[in-house]
Subunit: 407 residues, 2 copies
């Protein structure tokens, strides 16, 4: 083979993927796209793209179809590329304290069925959570008339420190266990390949594959729910840090010796913003008869209603949380200078937290760069969008394995 | 040309560079290296590397030499690649409040001459600083018997918010001006192409090209001097944020409504650690006759000596700064999970700031990940190493332009 004329080998790039995999991802993100448009998007020669597409067609990951957007009445119809939907089914599951949500999708990411399971909202063992996960999985499969053996991969997203690369659960506010090999435990329990990640990363994957991120190379996602999480996209790829445990904005310290965090340390950003931070102040603002023995979700809702009704103590709790959120967002701006921050999570309904005041304060706390202010969007996605992100995680893992020649 | 057999075109990757440029960078980092070792390092096929090396040889950026490390007494001597040192001279200049430092290097980054200029340590206009820069540049060229026309590029590093891509100085603690087109102003003043960046990024480039980073794919640098800065290397490349103004760890907020920062905001990390933060507390700890009208550098030195002599107020100042440094480093760990943090800057001599206590506190404040603790190294580089980094910035810009076909 003459020098310089061989097929391109998978190459580890910027944030860790092969060019072949990036071709696959471009097609999946676009739905339908021509070879020439993939080449333009990735700034690679059309000849190189043609070679890589050939390999992906042979692997059964892509298919050719008529490019309906461009077909004309005359001549040979143009050919577009699309993901081969028969490449397999995958399941995405978002695990949360009070409810697990599961979604079945085809290889192109199209939702086919969904299921959810309500749980007692308390910390419990990983074994117990895996039993619950099996229940919601089987409910999902029953709906779709499929068996576990029909599933190519399950993506699991949960709050806490989850090491995607190692498959390890280091710590989670859901669980009484610490440092367990979550991926292999789930694979043993379900007999299906599993990918795991934290919930902020899966909602970021959802934005990347099915939301705003289809058109944006760089953006950050900040989530506020049971904790405060972050996902960062650099050049169309999720970046998890040098190891797999970075982007823990919720546990960056915003006050020396500050408020107690559920992680056991003091002064973490989430100790001022997350559900539990508001709930522990709520009993002071609410009538004691309302507050005693009330579930956290209910208490948070009561607090919000009291704030709307003019209870100054309740308003003060949200106002303070909003100021700390502004501070955290300003820190994201100062660190990453992203063109867009997406705010996501169940707490987006509490508009006190995300009012214009918060954005004004964020801009005041971010360094003045003499340029247009960073854009902030609020996406009050439900759990189903997060489960969709978990499915994207599973699809990514399959594509990684196939594109890198591991499967 | 049959599909899949064309030469590889420059491709924009993970953190923004072409494969050809990365080949050039591998050679420069290694000094001497064979084609096959470049291929291994970049995980690209030897055939692709051979094609790209051919282009770089033709552009005059690389040369072939006998691989002395591998030569044997029999047969054809193996051929290594090296940077072509005749490709041009470049100058790196570190601009600081009290002294500017300039270094002349060849295209392979080898130092050839150096010069420095002492200045009145006060904020001044950009025009004034450009006059000083011209002086130190001419002193350097005189030593080397060169003219400005012999210089291919000047790299300028200074503290503050410097937008490398746009060539803009947004804000600097050195300057009374705000938001000026520094690169074009310097090019007009010197008649030579100029590259600009903040000082934390240039010291990170120095580590990447001439220090620890030659062997490490991912690391972070935190600098403590007139301010607190940060540089981040992802997969052998400097990452500046999505825009060019990220990584401003010194201006992330670590206290709501906290200490006043030189940027005008409150609660920034550097407002607890940087020179000016210690100096403004020094007058309280020192004898008033020692403190009045004393230059900041001298006062800091007095404070350090008092602390060593047992002055509790002086010790308390360093101890508190050390705790905030630990908090800042823990935030870097929680955000980026880097295998190594390098601490750099003139303040590394104040061992109170970087004692074992600080590292112990950093580990206590970083999330417990059940793994080996992050490694922290202290590099008390002098200004010359920073100037070397500014030279690396200039070399990178030349190589970028040539490898991308812009020059």
């Amino acid at each position: 083979m003459p020098a310089g004329c061989g097929p391109i080998r998978p190459e580890t790039e910027g944030v860790g993927t092969s060019l072949r995999h990036r071709v696959f991802e471009s097609v999946r993100a676009a739905g339908q796209i021509s070879r020439i448009d993939v080449a333009k998007q990735l700034k690679v020669s059309p000849a190189s793209i043609t070679a890589l597409v050939g390999e992906l067609l042979e692997l059964g990951l892509l298919r050719e179809c008529t490019d309906t957007a461009r077909s004309t009445t005359r001549g040979r119809p143009p050919v577009a590329l699309a993901v081969q939907p028969d490449a397999g089914y995958v399941v995405g599951i978002k695990l949360a304290r009070a409810q697990h949500t599961a979604l079945l999708v085809d290889a192109a990411g199209k939702p086919l069925a969904q299921a959810s399971l309500s749980c007692q909202p308390r910390r419990r063992s990983l074994d117990q959570v895996l039993v619950e996960t099996g229940e919601v999985l089987d409910a999902l499969l029953q709906q779709a008339n499929l068996a576990r053996a029909d599933i190519a991969c399950i993506g699991l997203g949960l709050p806490g420190m989850i090491d995607h690369a190692a498959g390890q659960m280091v710590w989670s506010p859901l669980l009484t266990d610490l440092d367990k090999p979550l991926r292999t435990m789930a694979e043993d329990a379900f007999g299906v390949p599993v990918a795991v990640d934290n919930d902020a990363n899966i909602v970021t994957l959802a934005e990347l594959w099915f939301g705003k991120g289809r058109a944006m190379a760089d953006f950050a996602v900040v989530t506020v729910e049971e904790g405060v999480g972050m996902g960062l996209v650099i050049n169309h790829r999720l970046y998890r840090g040098a190891g797999s445990l970075g982007m823990e904005i919720g546990h960056t310290k915003v006050q020396m010796d500050g408020a107690l965090c559920q992680c056991g340390q003091r002064g973490c950003l989430e100790a001022y913003i997350a559900d539990y931070a508001l709930v522990r102040e709520a009993s002071t603002a609410l009538d004691p008869t309302d507050a005693t023995g009330t579930a956290p979700d209910v208490m948070l809702q009561q607090l919000f209603e009291q704030a709307k009704a003019g209870n100054e103590a309740a308003r003060g709790i949200f106002r303070r949380a909003g100021r700390f959120l502004a501070l955290g967002l300003a820190n994201v701006v100062n660190m990453f200078d992203p063109p867009l921050i997406i705010l996501a999570g169940a707490r987006m309904q509490y508009d006190y937290l995300y009012a214009d005041d918060v954005l004004t304060e964020m801009h005041a706390l971010a360094l003045n760069r003499g340029a247009a202010p960073q854009k902030v969007e609020t996406h009050a996605w439900g759990d189903l969008m997060w489960a969709h992100g978990a499915a994207a995680l599973a699809l990514s893992d399959i594509a990684d394995a196939m594109a890198e020649g591991r499967a």
